[in-house]
Symmetry: C2
Subunit: 397 residues, 2 copies
């Protein structure tokens, strides 16, 4: 049977590649410390489960296609507290940030179009862009410069006649890079001047560790036509399994097109929306505690990394990821070796090899992404295992 050329161009998730080796290692009795996945270990606020348990309608009906009013109102109010004004009809509830992104890209892209994305980037962008018939054009960065990309010339030189949008993940996954206000302003100007959509994936907005205010591209009201904000409760409230996100824009034409997709899939899960609305009752002390915890973890990871000879790593400002260049020939081979041939008292460690985060062939080969979603003690152990692994691997390779 013949399949769509678009889906044939896509690959399966590279993040799952080592899953069978991990399963095999566990079966041989190894304990694996996971630094490879973006699933936070922080408790979901009880407000979520409270709302679910107090739901007492007897028929679980479809929600409205744009989302339930209570959740839309809660998101609007959340932004108002950041000093950002949205109308209710600027917000369309989606099945996680993932659906928000997929809908946005589908609305914008035609065959042969390009989306400019600083690399390294979140690998699922590949499938989402590819299945639109478009491709990712990377804005290159370098580990020795802390993956910094927010330089006008650096971005501008990658714009081609086929560039339709600039997709910015801020704070960044996988790098943890956080843009300054001035950098955001420059990117907003660039999008407006060059008539590009600016897709701002701000899933990690709360996770900044420099004591700064929470920023959003939506604060710039002179890019209303260009801007689409991708948001989600997944990381904000450690509620990844709720699959509740939203796409936000002040561009009425864009919203009209996005609504077509929303209507065609009818609605987002009703109960999860009800519960997500209740998450927004959580107070600032929740975020302060979570931020404090992640900051401590980040500091641990960076401190430990800097102690490993030959590792290149800058201290990132946000998210709960960082990228580092290792003194190994091939992070992929190293990961497989860690699972198959290494242990220290029965323990080993997993990270995400860097290559799938790049669009430029050959880049990222000696880099890794670390997700610091383990509690302090386990994190220390995981980092020790990484250090020991690098030493032993280089002794034998």
């Amino acid at each position: 049977m013949k399949f769509s050329r678009k889906v044939e161009r896509c690959g399966l998730s590279p993040m799952r590649k080592f899953h069978p080796y991990a399963v095999a290692a566990c079966e041989r009795g190894k304990t694996i410390y996971h630094l490879n996945i973006g699933q936070p270990d922080v408790e979901t606020p009880p407000a979520f489960f409270d709302a679910i348990r107090s739901f007492h309608q007897s028929v679980l009906e479809y929600a409205p296609s744009p989302g339930i009013p209570a959740l839309i109102g809660a998101i609007r109010d959340y932004y108002a507290k950041l000093g950002i004004a949205f109308d209710d009809d600027h917000i369309l509830i989606t099945a996680g940030g993932s659906e928000a992104l997929a809908i946005t890209l589908q609305c914008i892209l035609d065959d042969g179009d390009e989306v400019l994305i600083p690399e390294p980037f979140y690998p699922n962008y590949n499938t989402m862009v590819c299945t639109c018939g478009a491709s990712i054009h990377p804005v290159p960065t370098a580990p020795e410069k802390g993956y910094h990309y927010a330089v006008r010339e650096q971005i501008e030189r990658e714009i081609t006649p086929r560039t339709r949008a600039l997709l910015i993940t801020n704070p960044g996954n996988p790098t943890g890079t956080v843009l300054t206000h001035d950098e955001m302003r420059m990117i907003a100007d660039l999008a407006r001047e060059r008539n590009l959509f600016l897709i701002a994936d701000e899933a990690y907005r709360e996770f900044v560790y420099g004591g700064e205010n929470l920023l959003s591209f939506a604060a710039f009201t002179d890019i209303d036509d260009n801007l689409v904000v991708i948001d989600t409760v997944s990381k904000r409230f450690s509620a990844c399994g709720a699959r509740v996100g939203c796409v936000i824009s002040r561009n009425a034409e864009f919203l009209g097109h996005a609504m077509k997709y929303c209507q065609s899939r009818l609605s987002v899960a009703t109960l999860d929306q009800v519960a997500a609305a209740n998450l927004y009752t959580v107070g600032p002390e929740y975020f302060a505690a979570v931020r404090e915890e992640y900051k401590r973890r980040r500091d641990t990871v960076v401190r430990k990394l800097k102690q490993i000879p030959g590792v290149q790593c800058e201290c990132p400002g946000g998210a709960f990821y960082l990228m580092a260049a290792l003194p190994v020939d091939d992070a992929d081979a190293f990961q497989q070796w860690l699972l198959e041939s290494f242990d220290d008292h029965g323990d080993t460690v997993m990270f995400a090899p860097g290559e799938p985060f790049y669009a430029t062939p050959g880049k990222g080969k000696n880099e890794i992404r670390i997700a610091y979603v383990l509690e302090q003690q386990k994190l220390e152990r995981a980092m020790d295992l990484l250090a020991l692994g690098i030493q032993k691997y280089n002794e034998t390779h």
Copy 2:
């Protein structure tokens, strides 16, 4: 800003067109009897809410991309009871039947391709096919022949070199048409011989009123390469708001491609999957009671319709919809008149005008879809309002 040509070809849901008029009518104090929406009024089995309330993990984590094993196992066992064998990895859990359909079409279709669909059909198929760059090629039917389409020559003559798939909704929405075993066999043969995907949307499988066994195209094991089954808990368990469905196939290559989409959107809502798995513990007495109730409603609607002079309508075998041709010039204008200019003791009625269910221009103009999702007494009243409305409308137009 420039948008995707594909999304520009799509329209907003025609089902929502009368919403503002309905709101206005309500504001003027009218009571509207809704025969226009597919939202069942039957209670969701308490098993769903029980499972939700007994969920006691503290972190609401992502589910696996293909779905949680408990739900996949429950669906596999459900099919086993129908005499149909699936492996667990034939089943991918999706956000409702809608996502199952969208993923399937995206995997199969390229620009310019065609999907053969008997008309009238579920209008959301339009957006789903259109956004793949493909188009719907209708298999025409006629109200006076009970919308019957399962004739080999009738389908075969519509196949073109661009036909990639045959999409069959059985039992049918909006017609309620139920295929016989022999008709299904003929369609299966046709798909195999002509090397077409057969996408079987069997969302209404349980809703058959002739005492027959529940049928699925999946019973034919000689079309494993061709067949993709779309399934959902939405109608089966009156759990539309759960947004839990699945795509099922024995074609490994198709499943590989579908998995790319599943991975790119990470997962389906975790709690809804846990609860949906528990729905499958509901016994046959649940379905017997629901079936009995809908059969009674269908009989009421058909009896009442046949009493209206000039109405053309055959008694359909399943689902909870039927199409009828009315003795009015334009069902759209008639609906608007019912909302704006008609009432009987303050009451009026809504149905779904027929045109959006057709791909052939001009067809369906005097037809309507009725969804019998109201309890008996309200249904009788709604049908009386329809009869009275037709009479008055024709007196004044």
